[in-house]
């Protein structure tokens, strides 16, 4: 009799939970699971005659056989890892300053400064870099005016330019998780380490970095994913030399109408990012759940 009274309540609670989860579930299934299933199916079929398809690994074979594709793939991965590392190196001192040194107004001001670039669209931000860096742009002219170079240098369309753009775009996503983990670090731990004979470097290595590890991992994962999947920045700043893997996917889908090949590339990129994130977590001994809670 007791359970009879409790049951309607329990089922109502379950219904409420389902209803609350419904939008997320629809989003997840409709926009992520279904397209990916479709992509998987697409990537695994080959057209043998008009409207006749059969299962095949031809798309993946093309990827292996064609050096341009897998070289672009490897290049994208290395550049993304490099960009992530650069972002971490630049963001860490910034986050340290915001979390530990700045107080009150200065702190919120610095945070806003990190955020402000995101008020304009990525296109505009990237165009800003182009105005600064192109041959007739601000920086080359400044270098000439200062007598450092004899004539304006083209600063666009280099790998370094792509890196600058990617790091700039990713900063905020690294700074935010770092600030939150560094803020949770008790200052007295640093003082205690210093008191016991530690110096700046050893404290950073043994106290600060181990404490901030989940934040570092969270920031790195987000930045790495964003960089790997970035299309605009490499295309605009790298020009034709950029050779970014997302461009290959775009070309297959839009220019060549080869959806099967595009789908295979898309899947390869997904596998790549998953593998690298997994490897990164393994190497640093982090658990995915802990890391995601931090971000």
């Amino acid at each position: 009799m007791v359970s009879a009274a409790a049951d309607p309540l329990a089922s109502r609670a379950r219904l409420a939970l389902l209803l609350l989860l419904a939008p997320a579930a629809v989003w997840l299934v409709g926009l992520i699971v279904l397209p990916h299933v479709e992509l998987a199916v697409l990537s695994l079929r080959a057209r043998v005659a008009p409207r006749v398809y059969e299962w095949s690994l031809a798309q993946y074979r093309t990827f292996v056989d064609e050096p341009l594709y897998w070289r672009t793939f490897v290049r994208t991965a290395t550049m993304s890892i490099l960009a992530t590392a650069c972002t971490l190196l630049i963001a860490f001192p910034v986050a340290w300053y915001i979390a530990k040194i700045a107080h009150g107004r200065a702190k919120s001001l610095l945070f806003v400064l990190c955020l402000i670039p995101f008020w304009v669209s990525e296109t505009v931000r990237t165009l800003g870099w182009m105005i600064l860096l192109r041959e007739s742009g601000v920086l080359p002219h400044l270098l000439v005016a200062l007598g450092i170079t004899a004539e304006p240098v083209e600063m666009l369309y280099h790998d370094a330019t792509i890196l600058v753009g990617l790091v700039y775009t990713s900063m905020l996503f690294m700074v935010v998780p770092l600030v939150s983990t560094l803020e949770s670090l008790d200052d007295s731990l640093i003082e205690a380490a210093y008191d016991l004979g530690g110096n700046g470097w050893s404290i950073l290595r043994q106290i600060v970095v181990p404490h901030a590890a989940p934040g570092i991992a969270a920031g790195s994962i987000v930045v790495f994913m964003l960089t790997l999947g970035n299309y605009l920045t490499p295309t605009l700043l790298g020009g034709k030399n950029s050779l970014w893997f997302t461009e290959q996917i775009y070309t297959q889908f839009i220019t060549r109408f080869n959806w099967e090949q595009g789908a295979a590339f898309g899947f390869l990129l997904l596998i790549l990012s998953t593998a690298i994130v997994w490897a990164g977590l393994k190497v640093t001994g982090q658990r995915f759940g802990d890391v995601m809670r931090r971000s």
């Binding site: 731990l189 205690a192 016991l196 110096n199 050893s202």
Partner: protein, 367 residues
């Protein structure tokens, strides 16, 4: 005797406020020295100046006879036990204790043996591979002390390390801390706002207020012979009676309060008739009797009614309201159990020996 710590006219100002005000202090080798004061009195600032985290505006700190001017905290022969212990959660117990040795470049094998020996001395043998979060509050405390003492510092600073523990454990750790200090013979400088900790643990106590020392002395001297009204009020329980000095007879003062209560007390410092004064009478100095005739003949006798009973085992007391002036007086109950059946509103007589009450000229700080 060698002085392990000499603080020489040290001042630290924050804006116009002097957190530490031209303060001098010496601590002898091997002693347990406490700095006792209410929060905000500057004791933490003083400790951090000694540790090297704060540079004083004026004055000098000498440790083991060597001036510490310009010496950073990681190069001072001083270690600190932090308020919340600040053990490194990312390291094992062994790595925590061995941290300082590793930083000094001691070989690994020697670190391992010294850490194990130290853990044994603080009663945690075999705890090396444990994680910090597996330890109880008391064990953490011992690890924090072991982590500092393994470096054999001239001076160990302790910043209210018992504050975070519950009462039972605090009582236990007090005894343990005293034994550890006696065992190691290291000079301890301990800061606390808890007068019982300071009295139980220390060889010498400095009572600090508003950036200055009110009195430095043995716990007994502070308790029985306070030199200022602040010390009398802060160390131990005390009945404070504010009034005016009516008459001076030798070293005795007759104090009259605004509502007409008159008590006699021993003067401490110069007091002239007519001065605003504060008299302090300890609860255990006052005798209590159901029949006023039982009180010693030399005592000044008063009568009152029990306002409330504060039963606390051996520390039991009663609050008595004096009949004429309604002044509330705290009286310790004798431990014989003779007054165990005392009831609220019961009429009683009480009295005290005027020589055991002490009187100071008010400086206004007590309002």
């Amino acid at each position: 005797m060698q002085q392990d710590l000499e603080v020489d006219r040290v001042t630290k100002r924050y804006g116009a406020h002097a957190a530490v005000d031209a303060l001098s202090l010496t601590v002898a080798h091997g002693s347990f020295f406490s700095i006792l004061g209410p929060s905000g009195c500057g004791k933490t600032t003083l400790l951090r100046i000694v540790a090297g985290f704060i540079a004083p505006d004026e004055g000098d700190v000498r440790i083991g006879g060597v001036s510490m001017r310009g010496v950073s905290p990681n190069r001072r022969p001083v270690n600190m036990v932090f308020q919340h212990l600040a053990l490194f959660p990312m390291m094992s117990v062994g790595d925590n204790v061995g941290y300082g040795l590793a930083r000094r470049g001691v070989p690994k094998a020697e670190i391992a043996s010294r850490v194990e020996a130290m853990l044994k001395r603080v009663g945690l043998p075999g705890a090396r591979s444990k994680r910090i979060d597996q330890l109880s509050g008391g064990q953490k405390q011992r690890v924090a002390i072991a982590r500092s003492l393994v470096l054999e510092p001239t001076l160990l600073l302790l910043d209210e390390p018992l504050g975070a523990l519950d009462l039972k454990l605090r009582e236990h750790m007090k005894i343990e801390l005293k034994q550890l200090q006696a065992d190691f013979g290291t000079t301890f400088v301990y800061i606390t706002h808890d007068q019982s900790e300071a009295l139980v643990l220390s060889d010498h106590v400095a009572v600090m207020n508003a950036g200055r020392f009110e009195q430095v002395g043995t716990p007994q001297a502070l308790y029985y012979d306070p030199k200022t009204a602040f010390v009398a009020g802060f160390v131990g329980a005390n009945n404070r009676i504010a009034g005016r000095a009516e008459r001076i007879e030798g070293e005795m003062v007759e104090v009259a309060t605004a509502d007409g209560l008159a008590v006699r007390a021993r003067a401490s410092g110069a007091i002239a008739a007519g001065d605003a004064v504060e008299a302090f009478i300890r609860p255990e100095v006052i005798d209590i009797a159901r029949n006023a005739a039982e009180l010693p003949a030399s005592a000044q006798r008063l009568s009152g009614r029990v306002a409330s009973l504060l039963f606390d085992g051996a520390n039991s007391a009663v609050l008595v309201r004096e009949d004429r002036t309604r002044a509330e007086v705290r009286i310790a109950l004798p431990q014989t159990g003779r007054f165990a059946d005392l009831a609220v509103d019961e009429a009683i007589g009480f009295g005290f020996d005027a020589r055991r009450a002490v009187c100071f000229r008010s400086n206004g700080s007590h309002g």
